[in-house]
């Protein structure tokens, strides 16, 4: 990383920054992503601290700042001081107020240890946080490129404008009418993990193929989540779902570009009358996926995100005060695929569990992440327990398990 970094923040990063600032004004937690790694045996706090503090790249990342002067695009710059990444042990972390964008907490869960890696979403997306885990583990070697270099965009300005308008219309015209079920005055985030054994995972993958998910299992998973939601939490509420699904914009095969958010979105409208069986729902979602890739919708949305670089916080806050309270979707869904692929040990100890925990900053505060590690699928659900009851959550989990495995 250069000594005098000055790199324009991307639209996707600015969006995460706006989300963070908005929720910090209204709640205590920020827009933080989290990766939990549980290993067999004991990791010593001092050993972890030594590894982390010896990694100058992690310190540099943790010391980055974002300038945000009005009427100019925010920039990443190096902070005036170098902030080593904070590494604390549970429960001492509660007394700690770490500086910077990364923080690590060690939890001794005898006979195992758990390492919780927290990263501000403005610094990293799901792939970035996995690369930070790889840096700590020594399986990814610095120097990494801190941010993707923005290539010169040869798309004419008028076409960029058309892309932006197309994406704006897509998002705002389809904002669902029925958000009442999930719009609550108070937000209390809870997490529910639906875990599948290896045999169940194999069965689910066979079922995906049988139900027509030949190109992408994500369509099958989204179909199952939507059907289970319709059958349980949304029973009798609403007539369709509308949601964005993140799509990785990185060039493939390159694990060097670590930081920042490199995502665009595909958008799905799923009427309840298409959620009667998994084959039909999977085909309906797959058709939308193919159509949007054909129409370059993710590219259009990328241009919309670029305009977010100029969006002030007050405008974003105004948006949150509108009748839908800032909710432009029914829920969020992401299939992150294999998490920490090929990583069997962490700091020399066998990994027994990995969890990829999403932030849940946007209304309606209902986020699903489908992930896989060591041959086992997991659905991680973060939700507002002021809007979804324990009973509804349990019924949803049972319905989803039946849909995926039977």
């Amino acid at each position: 990383m250069e000594a005098a970094l000055s790199h324009k923040i991307s639209g996707a990063d600015k969006f995460q920054l706006l989300l963070d600032r908005h929720i910090r004004l209204n709640q205590s937690t920020g827009n933080i992503i989290q990766l939990n790694i549980e290993v067999k045996g004991r990791i010593e706090l001092e050993e972890l601290r030594k590894i982390v503090s010896a990694n100058s790249f992690l310190t540099q990342l943790n010391s980055l700042k974002v300038t945000d002067k009005s009427l100019s695009i925010p920039r990443w710059i190096n902070g005036e001081e170098q902030n080593p990444v904070s590494v604390t042990e549970f429960p001492d972390y509660a007394n700690n107020d770490p500086e910077g964008l990364i923080s690590i907490v060690l939890f001794q869960d005898e006979p195992n240890s758990e390492v919780f890696i927290f990263v501000h979403h403005v610094l990293a997306d799901n792939i970035g946080i996995q690369q930070i885990a790889g840096l700590i583990n020594g399986t990814i070697k610095p120097p990494l490129l801190p941010f993707a270099e923005e290539g010169k965009d040869t798309t004419p300005f008028i076409q960029q404008l058309i892309h932006t308008l197309k994406a704006t219309l897509l998002v705002f015209k389809k904002t669902p009418k029925r958000m009442a079920k999930l719009v609550a005055d108070e937000v209390k985030t809870n997490t529910n993990i639906i875990d599948f054994e290896e045999e169940e995972t194999q069965q689910i993958e066979e079922n995906a193929a049988k139900n027509g998910a030949r190109l992408s299992r994500s369509a099958f998973y989204l179909a199952a989540v939507s059907m289970a939601l319709k059958q349980t939490i949304f029973e009798g509420n609403g007539d369709s779902f509308f949601l964005p699904v993140p799509q990785n914009q990185r060039l493939r095969g390159n694990d060097q570009v670590a930081m920042g958010n490199h995502i665009s979105f595909l958008f799905y409208t799923i009427p309840f009358n298409k959620l009667n069986n998994l084959s039909e729902a999977t085909a309906f979602i797959t058709a939308q996926m193919v159509e949007q890739i054909k129409n370059q919708s993710p590219k259009s949305y990328s241009y919309l995100l670029k305009t977010f670089r100029f969006l002030p916080l007050w405008l974003y806050d105004f948006f949150f005060k509108m009748p839908t309270k800032g909710a432009v979707c029914s829920f969020l869904f992401s299939d992150v695929g294999e998490t920490l692929p090929g990583m069997k040990t962490f700091m020399g100890k066998e990994i027994v569990e990995v969890l990829n925990l999403p932030p849940n900053p946007s209304p309606p505060h209902l986020t699903f992440v489908m992930m896989k590690h060591a041959g086992r699928l997991k659905l991680i659900m973060t939700y507002n327990s002021k809007a979804i009851s324990e009973d509804e959550k349990s019924k949803f989990g049972a319905a989803l398990r039946t849909l995926l495995t039977k």
Binding site: L215, S216, S218, R250, L251, N254, M289, V290, I293
Partner: protein, 85 residues
């Protein structure tokens, strides 16, 4: 002039190198797409490129993992479809 399987492969490799993979990633017709980092989204992009470039639609029955694992396997499918037109 009819397209050979090699012409098809060259065209597909060029598309993947230019539009999907990062610079410097080792890749040829027999590279396993998934292991190279080509995900399902990118496979759909390749299939849409095949439709545009060669005017053939790969039927559902051919969309099986074995046919989508390498550029060589995909080229074989396209070659068969073009010859059965």
């Amino acid at each position: 002039m009819a397209l050979s399987k090699e012409n098809i492969s060259d065209s597909l490799v060029n598309f993947v190198r230019t539009n999907i993979l990062a610079q410097g990633v080792a890749f040829d017709i027999s590279s396993n797409l998934s292991k190279t980092g080509v995900d399902s989204y990118s496979v759909i992009e390749i299939i849409l490129f095949i439709e545009r470039q060669f005017g053939v639609v790969i039927p559902d029955t051919m969309l099986i993992p074995a046919n989508l694992s390498t550029i060589d396997a995909m080229s074989e499918c396209v070659f068969q479809l073009l010859n059965n037109k």
